[in-house]
């Protein structure tokens, strides 16, 4: 036994170290993906017998207007959430100075990211409040009528996205601040000698060096956009009339809420969301694979 261990230690050790982690991860993350895939072919209320229905759930999705609303909102989220990346860069450039007290400014600008999205949602609900919210008080002060952002189908998704952009911009800002720290000063000097200034300097010399920061910022922003759930749940519960739902929220509503326990249908929605996310996951893994090979 001892001899066997001595001889094969190097081969066995990694798997012993990995075993608990792999077990937990497989049980709670990997396996459930396949289980959901399976459930999406059944009609199931979560308690009784499952009934196999083949592709019926997916066929129903094709004709479900609420599904298209949610999908469309997901796309709006994905596109507009991306604003967090340039906005974060802008704030980072603004704060990348060495004046007195700048460190406190940096951490206070980062502040929105540390607080929970539930709190962010409540803060913005209060901000948008149609009668007394700060936004409308300010609008009225400059002579505009109040806008009930969260009760208006036209504005509601944009209103929630603005709330989401607040912490997300802070996140991107901190990524860029760290990136700016490691920009090569010699290249900047060389650029200055070549008379590169302002935008040209930013575009041709700074941004290429910030590429790793930009990559991470885009990745976390895409994931954040596709994961958007908390804010919608807190601020509108998907309303008014389901107009602010995204796939993540619609799935939850179908599977767990007072609207009934349609686990199979919910799982089918989750599978669609998963496939969208998979495009990004595959891209990320491909890039990582290339980087690892490059070493």
């Amino acid at each position: 036994m001892r001899a066997f261990w001595k001889a094969n230690q190097l081969k066995l050790a990694p798997w012993l170290f990995l075993a608990p982690g792999i077990f937990m991860f497989a049980l709670y993350v990997i396996l459930p993906v396949f289980q959901s895939l399976d459930i999406s072919f059944y009609a199931w209320d979560g308690l009784g017998e499952k009934e196999y229905v083949g592709l019926d759930n997916y066929v129903e999705l094709m004709d479900d207007e609420a599904f298209y609303t949610a999908l469309q909102n997901n796309i709006i989220w994905l596109v507009l959430y991306m604003l967090a990346v340039p906005a974060g860069l802008f704030v980072a450039l603004f704060l990348n100075q060495t004046v007195r007290g700048i460190r406190i400014y940096k951490s206070l600008f980062f502040f929105p990211f540390v607080i929970s999205q539930v709190v962010v949602g409540l803060v913005f609900s209060w901000f948008y409040d149609p009668t007394n919210g700060l936004m409308n008080v300010l609008l009225n002060a400059i002579g505009f009528d109040s806008i009930a952002v969260l009760a208006d189908e036209r504005f509601v998704t944009y209103g929630i996205i603005v709330a989401g952009l607040w912490p997300q911009t802070a996140y991107c800002m901190i990524l860029y601040l760290t990136g700016l720290n490691s920009v090569d000063p010699e290249q900047i000097e060389a650029g200055r000698l070549d008379n590169a200034k302002g935008w040209r300097m930013l575009w041709y010399i700074i941004l290429p060096q910030l590429r790793p920061a930009t990559f991470i910022a885009v990745v976390v922003t895409v994931i954040g956009a596709l994961r958007s759930f908390d804010l919608i749940s807190i601020m509108t519960s998907g309303g008014p009339w389901g107009s602010s739902r995204v796939l993540a929220y619609y799935m939850y509503e179908q599977a767990f809420s007072e609207y009934g326990f349609r686990m199979g249908y919910g799982a089918a929605i989750a599978v669609v969301l998963f496939l969208i996310m998979m495009v990004y996951i595959a891209g990320f893994l491909y890039k990582m694979y290339r980087d690892e090979r490059g070493h």
């Binding site: 230690q9 190097l10 798997w15 170290f17 990995l18 608990p20 982690g21 937990m24 991860f25 049980l27 709670y28 993350v29 459930p32 993906v33 959901s36 459930i39 979560g46 990348n96 060495t98 004046v99 400014y105 951490s107 929105p112 540390v114 607080i115 929970s116 539930v118 709190v119 409540l122 803060v123 209060w126 409040d129 007394n132 700060l134 008080v137 607040w166 990524l175 760290t178 990136g179 720290n181 920009v183 300097m201 930013l202 790793p212 920061a213 991470i216 994961r227 759930f229 807190i234 993540a248 799935m251 599977a255 767990f256 919910g266 989750a270 998963f274 990320f284 990582m288 694979y289 690892e292």
Partner: protein, 282 residues
């Protein structure tokens, strides 16, 4: 340094920058300032619609006491700790080991296992929701803080493995080679050689995971219900339903709920940012 250091610009530009800085900060935190101001107003001000004028009285003590005495927020906060602390500890134990295995050993399926952790970390929660709820139910841990913590431990292991593995990979390999030549066993290498060097990574991840889990809302609503088990994020949502239009209480409650991660962040800022920006600079 880019942009040009402000000290090297004209005095007028310097002045503008110094004025713009606090103004920008106030605008940036305006929604939060509004909440902080509301949280010290009296109920009378709120019903009279005096939200933005000078408060008739400062009710900071009353409001914050009311939040604790009239609602189970104390219980919610305790639940949050009961979920968050075991998750931080459990995740760190698992990911120190997985990170060590993937960062040190070269074996065939190393990359495959690593990519499994990384990919799993990006999965949308909804695809896990139904099966994880079933699993938790069948283990008899639905509506317990343990059940919630177990899921968090498993899921966060993905991100933490990525973090730990990259950190360990950058440690000097010679240390390990030397120990092996000396005949030190692999477990002792892990414990005495590598683990002490991982302190910065452990510190960074603890703050980060603490914040992530404290702020989790989705899984709290999926796996728990009621004041006996729900963490403060989910609790705040139900309190918001009870406190309709009592914005002074909602505001005070929000601030109370946000406090622990905020304090954690300010106390361990360097570690937090080091954890967050991993991979952003290379």
């Amino acid at each position: 340094m880019f942009p040009t250091p402000i000290e090297k610009t004209a005095p007028s530009v310097q002045l503008i920058y110094k004025i713009a800085l606090p103004i920008a900060l106030i605008l940036w935190l305006l929604p939060l300032i509004a909440v902080a101001v509301t949280s010290i107003r009296s109920a009378g001000d709120i019903t009279a619609g005096n939200y933005w004028g000078w408060p008739t009285s400062f009710n900071m003590l009353e409001n914050y006491t009311a939040v604790f005495t009239d609602s189970p927020i104390g219980k919610y906060i305790l639940n949050s700790f009961k979920v968050t602390i075991p998750t931080v500890i459990g995740t760190l134990i698992l990911s120190c080991m997985t990170g060590f295995a993937l960062g040190i050993y070269r074996f065939k399926s190393n990359m495959l296992v690593f990519f499994m952790f990384v990919a799993g970390n990006f999965i949308p929660f909804q695809i896990l929701m139904v099966p994880v709820r079933d699993l938790t139910l069948s283990m008899g841990m639905y509506n317990t803080t343990t059940g919630l913590a177990l899921f968090h431990i498993a899921f966060q292991t993905g991100f933490c493995t990525l973090f730990m593995r990259n950190f360990i990979k950058n440690l000097p390999r010679e240390l390990i080679e030397v120990a092996r030549v000396e005949g030190v066993s692999e477990i002792k290498i892990f414990w005495y050689v590598v683990l002490p060097l991982m302190k910065p990574a452990i510190a960074a991840l603890s703050v980060l995971i603490f914040t992530f889990i404290w702020n989790d809302y989705f899984w709290a609503t999926v796996l728990t219900q009621g004041a006996d088990t729900q963490p403060v994020t989910a609790g705040l949502y139900s309190l918001n339903g009870q406190w309709v239009a009592k914005w002074h209480l909602v505001s005070a409650g929000s601030i109370v709920a946000a406090m622990p991660p905020v304090l954690m962040f300010f106390a361990m800022q360097k570690h937090f940012i080091a954890g967050l920006t991993l991979g952003a600079v290379k």
